[in-house]
């Protein structure tokens, strides 16, 4: 296979696993699934250097962490609040990720914080002059929060190495993008900060990947931040139990016809890169892997009360240790 064929296959494998995760986890209580948005998740966080940091949007966060090396079983244990999670059940695992994989999650339910903190992660890279860059993603609803404006403006002023990806799924809970954002694209807002704004088809994983990689190269070269608007569509509810009653049927049909997983699958088949048998095998393997991880996590013990203590509220510090 040619290099670009290898890339497509790798992206497809991740895309399929992301779909399986989103679909199967939708069954769990309180999960914020992102069925339909997988191309933005995979395209944004696939292929980051191991020593670079990222801060993914909560919708699709598990796949982002998994692509960076986190174990599916333990990630899902985090969603369920099990003892085997990466944090002994102290934080909800669907939105908060293990930082040991240089992947930042949300330690609260407040939107906009990760993109501000990611901006600081980029500042650290700039301070160290290490040539690294940061990718962060967020929903289009978050682009209406004041912190979005502050982060973009400050990243521009300080020329920080960061890529902001708007995972624009058309809805902030039930609020339509057209209602809450009067710019034609979130990317149009970039002009107000003097940074490049890029629109990309968020249901085309290769297009997202290429846009992010190109912005990353720019960032690593010291040329500052980029804002990417990746337009996609949320086919699942805002969370488990949301029936999408506010989405018009015709609109859903149009987006289902543009399904990112089916599109790449059709492309791979048409170009003769993978045949139907192999495509089905990839899907079946992903399905089984996710199902096994969920079953294993469900069988794990509940979080132990030993994780409830107050004695480790603070990180130990040099001065206290010297005084002790």
């Amino acid at each position: 296979m040619k290099p670009d064929e290898n890339l497509k296959v790798a992206l497809y494998q991740n895309l399929v696993k992301s779909r399986e995760l989103e679909e199967q986890l939708t069954e769990l209580p309180g999960f914020h699934a992102g069925v339909g948005e997988e191309a933005v998740v995979v395209g944004s966080f696939f292929g980051l250097a191991e020593d670079e940091y990222c801060a993914p949007h909560y919708r699709g966060a598990l796949m982002a962490a998994h692509m960076r090396g986190a174990d599916l079983h333990r990630l899902i244990a985090g969603v369920l609040g099990k003892a085997t999670s990466y944090n002994r059940g102290r934080v909800r695992g669907d939105i908060c990720l293990p930082f040991q994989f240089r992947t930042l999650g949300m330690f609260s339910g407040v939107l906009g914080n990760p993109m501000n903190i990611a901006t600081g992660m980029a500042l650290a890279a700039k301070q160290r002059r290490d040539g690294k860059a940061v990718v962060t993603s967020f929903g289009e609803g978050t682009s209406n929060i004041g912190g979005f404006h502050e982060a973009l403006n400050m990243a521009a002023c300080l020329s920080l190495p960061i890529v902001y990806v708007c995972q624009n799924n058309g809805y902030a809970m039930s609020t339509r993008t057209e209602y809450a954002i009067k710019a034609a694209s979130v990317a149009d807002r970039a002009g107000g900060y003097g940074v490049p704004g890029v629109q990309v088809d968020g249901n085309d994983v290769l297009a997202v990947f290429e846009a992010v990689q190109s912005a990353l190269q720019r960032a690593r070269a010291g040329q500052g931040p980029t804002l990417i608007d990746a337009r996609t569509y949320r086919l699942s509810g805002h969370y488990t139990g949301d029936t999408n009653f506010y989405q018009p049927a015709e609109e859903r049909e149009q987006w289902i016809a543009r399904d990112p997983v089916q599109r790449l699958r059709a492309d791979l088949a048409a170009q003769g890169i993978l045949d139907e048998v192999r495509l089905n095998e990839i899907r079946a393997a992903a399905h089984a892997e996710v199902a096994a991880a969920i079953a294993a996590a469900q069988a794990d013990p509940e979080a132990d009360l030993s994780a409830l203590g107050t004695s480790d509220l603070y990180s130990p510090s040099q001065v206290e240790e010297a005084a002790a």
Binding site: M106, I117, G120, A124, Q127, R128, G147, E150, Y314
Partner: protein, 327 residues
């Protein structure tokens, strides 16, 4: 022996730590070479360390705080100057919702070694006096430091920069450019979470913070003439608070006066008062009085501003109240 003002002491601690540790840097508005920080809070830093480590930012407190957190979790030790405590509300979502929770919720995967500097209190320019200390003191995971003199300011800032947790460091404007006093030697830290007994006494325990410490010491001096021996304790670190030192004193005096320039509702010293009552009320008679900022928005006119916060006489009256066993 080196003597410094409060402002000089804080800046000296920052200079020493920046020279010792290349990961320490500053973010703030107007802290660069043109302005050197509000009330000279960053005087000389930019000339010494340059724009790479003394970074001027736009007016963006949320982004500044978020940027500090992000840099901290990636191995840096940022000092974020939010200028005035009045602006703390703008920092709260990243600071309280994320930074405070990261170490605990991540089960020890993430440390946030960051110092947020804020000016507060009734000062010479009559603006930005509100400290909103309850906003930050009520959130588990943050540390809150409020020095009362140049020596403590220097040692505590040194400790704060070396600490691995998010810290809000209050610098009182009313004592900022006051008399020079002896300060700790270079690199000498004062451990956070340790109170200082500023004056030893037998009859009454006064716990005071910030500018109220000096005022309480003056009250204790006056009361000594009435044959009342007051012990004055400065917690220095309001969170975590050195309750043991306070309890030991009140166990001895059975009388507690709390003096604060913050609103008493939400004041960490109010929580301390409740904890003292919980621990000691069962052991025998216990008298408590509080002198605090009037529980209204802070008034502007000088006469109103002065009368809204504890003065010398208020402190003396509070002590007399707990001393009077007939009431």
């Amino acid at each position: 022996m080196t003597e410094m003002t409060f402002q000089e002491a804080v800046v000296a601690a920052i200079v020493e730590e920046m020279e010792r540790d290349p990961t320490v840097f500053n973010l703030g508005q107007d802290i660069g070479p043109i302005y050197n920080g509000a009330m000279h809070s960053a005087r000389g830093l930019s000339d010494r360390f340059g724009a790479d480590r003394i970074i001027d930012t736009p007016i963006s407190e949320t982004a500044m705080t978020g940027a500090g957190i992000g840099a901290a979790i990636c191995g840096m030790r940022p000092i974020v100057q939010i200028m005035f405590a009045e602006f703390l509300g703008l920092t709260i979502t990243p600071l309280a919702c994320e930074a405070a929770a990261m170490w605990y919720k991540s089960d020890g995967q993430i440390s946030v070694p960051m110092v947020i500097r804020v000016l507060c209190g009734a000062g010479p320019h009559r603006g930005h006096a509100e400290d909103y200390i309850g906003l930050v003191a009520g959130v588990p995971g943050l540390k809150v430091v409020m020095p009362s003199c140049p020596g403590d300011a220097k040692g505590l800032m040194t400790a704060a920069i070396r600490d691995n947790n998010p810290i809000v460091f209050f610098e009182h404007m009313g004592i900022y450019h006051g008399p020079r006093q002896e300060v700790p030697a270079a690199g000498e830290a004062i451990a956070l979470g340790k109170a200082d007994i500023k004056r030893h006494g037998r009859d009454v325990t006064i716990v005071a913070s910030g500018m109220m410490v000096q005022r309480s010491l003056r009250a204790a001096e006056k009361l000594a003439g009435e044959d009342v021996s007051a012990e004055v304790i400065d917690p220095r670190t309001l969170v975590p608070l050195d309750l043991d030192t306070v309890l030991a004193s009140v166990r001895k005096t059975r009388r507690l006066v709390v003096v604060s320039e913050s609103w008493r509702t939400g004041d960490p010293l109010s929580d301390m008062t409740a904890r003292v009552a919980e621990e000691l009320a069962g052991e025998g008679p216990l008298r408590i009085a509080r002198a605090a900022l009037q529980n209204t928005p802070r008034p502007f006119a000088l006469s109103l501003a002065r009368a809204s916060m504890p003065d010398l006489q208020d402190i003396i009256n509070a002590v007399r109240k707990v001393k009077d066993d007939t009431k």
